[in-house]
């Protein structure tokens, strides 16, 4: 787990140092993998740190991509970067809130047996379905423009 985390940090620092976005997904994935390993090793009934971890992970991702974007050649007028940072902070807080709600739901349904399993599966499928719909609508609008 420590090794995974170290590799993730090195990858992240390298990506930020060279200003390229390509290594960032790998770095984020490695951080997530380190958390998965932690979960598997500790095996808690329900880990409350997941809320903070999810919010921190997306904040790291957003700030890293912002950092790489700012290396571009386009100088933005004053205030644009501050607005973006504020928006990222709001995203992190939103992630905390959403994670908290989900954690509460999971905690309530923890002893629900098959019904809770069904709700969990439906939620996962629903999230994937939401992604598919979003991507398809984007592809359709891109084809329409072309």
């Amino acid at each position: 787990m420590v090794a995974l985390g170290a590799v993730a940090m090195v990858t992240l620092v390298l990506a930020l140092a060279v200003g390229r976005p390509e290594p960032l997904p790998a770095a984020l994935g490695l951080i997530a993998a380190a958390y998965v390993v932690l979960l598997v090793l500790d095996n808690p009934p329900l880990d409350g740190r997941a809320v903070v971890f999810g919010a921190v992970l997306i904040t790291i991702g957003e700030l890293s991509y912002l950092s790489v974007e700012l290396r571009g050649s386009t100088p933005a007028e004053p205030g644009v970067v501050a607005r973006r940072v504020g928006w990222i902070a709001m995203t992190g807080l939103g992630a905390l809130g959403a994670g908290g709600v989900l954690l509460a739901l999971a905690d309530g349904l923890h002893t629900g047996g098959v019904a809770a399993e069904a709700i969990g599966v439906a939620a996962a499928l629903g999230a994937v379905g939401l992604l598919v719909i979003a991507v398809r609508s984007t592809v359709r609008s891109t084809q329409g423009d072309a």
């Binding site: 999810g54 386009t74 007028e77 939620a123 979003a134």
Partner: protein, 425 residues
């Protein structure tokens, strides 16, 4: 505007999907909690942000300028809906360079907000330049998609060549019947004193030189040179050019500058000036005078470019009216292409009064080392032999390089023509 995925979209979708499937596989609700922010952000970015409507207009404060002048390009951008970051890039074409302002630049626009961006541009090369290719890239607040568009707002900008320093011009051997600022060789009514002779019936009394008459004891009259103009044809060789990279001036840029300078000076002297651009594409302008002719000439010069061609051309392709009899032909050429060299010698053989301004490419070619240096020396010798060939035909050659101003080389031509005339007598 055309949407494109931002660099974050695919990684976030992948992370969310991996997290959700890992949650199912490992039966851990915590991974759903970790993946949920990514799912929500991607979904909000794809479904919640609409195509931005952005308009852009370009205006330029001048449509004509001279090399070295600075112009202002004003970009007005307006957004119908809010755009978190709008990157605006005006493509600066060759011949212009940015001296003031940020290009590209990023601005934030609220709904219905309009912004004016001012860019200072310097004209670095003469020519007819089209400016107005505007590239826009808009990004919403979430930024999962970026929207790009290219807005053509073409504006034509004519950049005239800057004038070279020139004090005196090459005088033609013959003049034309129309009046001008040039003292003709023949004797008639005019201002310039030519000689005296004995009075004959029909001479005007005002022509009598009373002092000479008193000395000689008979009536003596003054003869004068009339003020006439000349026909000058600028022969611009555009078959080939030499250039040392894109940044510095090649022989064509300097040739056009020299031709424009000569045209302006001869027209100011009330001569008629014509133009023949002899190259892959033949262009011509019959001799004329006045300010309108000056603009015609410069506009024709601005269209000049080197067009590659294998076609053999000689002077027979030039319309006869473009080369009037007794015209002074001034060739501005790098003497690089055999076709133009032979055409010039052909013109001389046909009796045209010819002078050559050689826009020397020799400074643009590095000597190299070893066999390259030997080849360079041979090439220089060949060029010297070519110049000697022209001079043997009675054609003065001004070798114009960066080392000396055009005026100095034109003085050399004037000196050569004085000697050549004496030797012919």
């Amino acid at each position: 505007m055309t949407p494109f995925a931002s660099p974050r979209l695919v990684p976030y979708v992948g992370l969310a999907a991996l997290g959700l499937f890992a949650a199912l596989a490992l039966r851990r609700a915590e991974l759903v909690i970790v993946a949920t922010p990514f799912v929500l952000l991607v979904a909000a970015g794809l479904l919640g942000e609409r195509r931005p409507a952005v308009h852009a207009l370009l205006s330029v404060d001048h449509d004509r300028a001279v090399e070295g002048d600075e112009i202002k390009a004003v970009l007005d951008v307006r957004a119908e809906s809010a755009v978190d970051l709008l990157e605006v890039h005006l493509v600066v074409p060759r011949g212009l360079e940015l001296v003031d302002g940020d290009n590209p630049t990023g601005v934030h626009l609220g709904a219905g907000e309009e912004r004016t961006l001012t860019l200072g541009l310097r004209c670095t090369r003469w020519g007819s330049i089209t400016i107005g290719d505007i590239r826009l890239r808009a990004r919403g607040r979430i930024g999962m998609l970026v929207w790009e568009s290219r807005i053509p707002r073409p504006r034509r900008l004519r950049v005239y060549p800057r004038a070279e320093l020139l004090q005196r011009l090459v005088a033609p051997l013959d003049t034309q019947p129309a009046s001008g600022d040039l003292a003709a060789r023949l004797r008639a009514d005019g201002l310039e004193f030519a000689d005296t002779r004995a009075f004959v019936a029909g001479d005007r009394v005002r022509s009598v030189n009373w002092r000479a008459s008193a000395r000689r004891g008979q009536l003596i009259v003054n003869e004068r040179h009339p003020d006439r103009n000349a026909d000058v044809v600028l022969f611009l060789d555009s078959f080939a050019e030499a250039r040392d990279g894109q940044a510095s001036d090649g022989t064509l840029e300097r040739a056009v500058r020299a031709a424009a300078t000569l045209a302006g000076r001869y027209l100011a002297r009330r001569d008629r000036v014509g133009l023949v651009t002899f190259g892959g594409i033949l262009r011509w302008l019959e001799p004329g005078a006045g300010i309108v002719q000056r603009y015609r000439l410069i506009d024709a010069l601005l269209e000049t470019g080197v067009e590659f061609s294998y076609a053999w051309k000689d002077v027979s392709v030039i319309p006869a009216r473009t080369l009037p009899p007794r015209a002074l032909v001034i060739a501005v050429t790098p003497l690089l292409d055999e076709r133009s060299v032979l055409a010039l010698l052909d013109l001389r053989a046909r009796g045209y009064d010819l002078a050559v301004v050689e826009v020397s490419p020799e400074d643009l070619v590095a000597p190299g080392v070893g066999t390259d240096a030997l080849a360079h020396r041979l090439w220089l010798l060949q060029r010297a032999a070519l110049r000697a060939r022209f001079e043997a035909a009675g054609v003065a050659v001004a070798r114009w390089s960066d080392a000396a101003p055009l005026a100095a080389e034109i003085e050399g031509v004037r000196a050569f023509r004085r000697r050549a005339r004496l030797s012919r007598r």
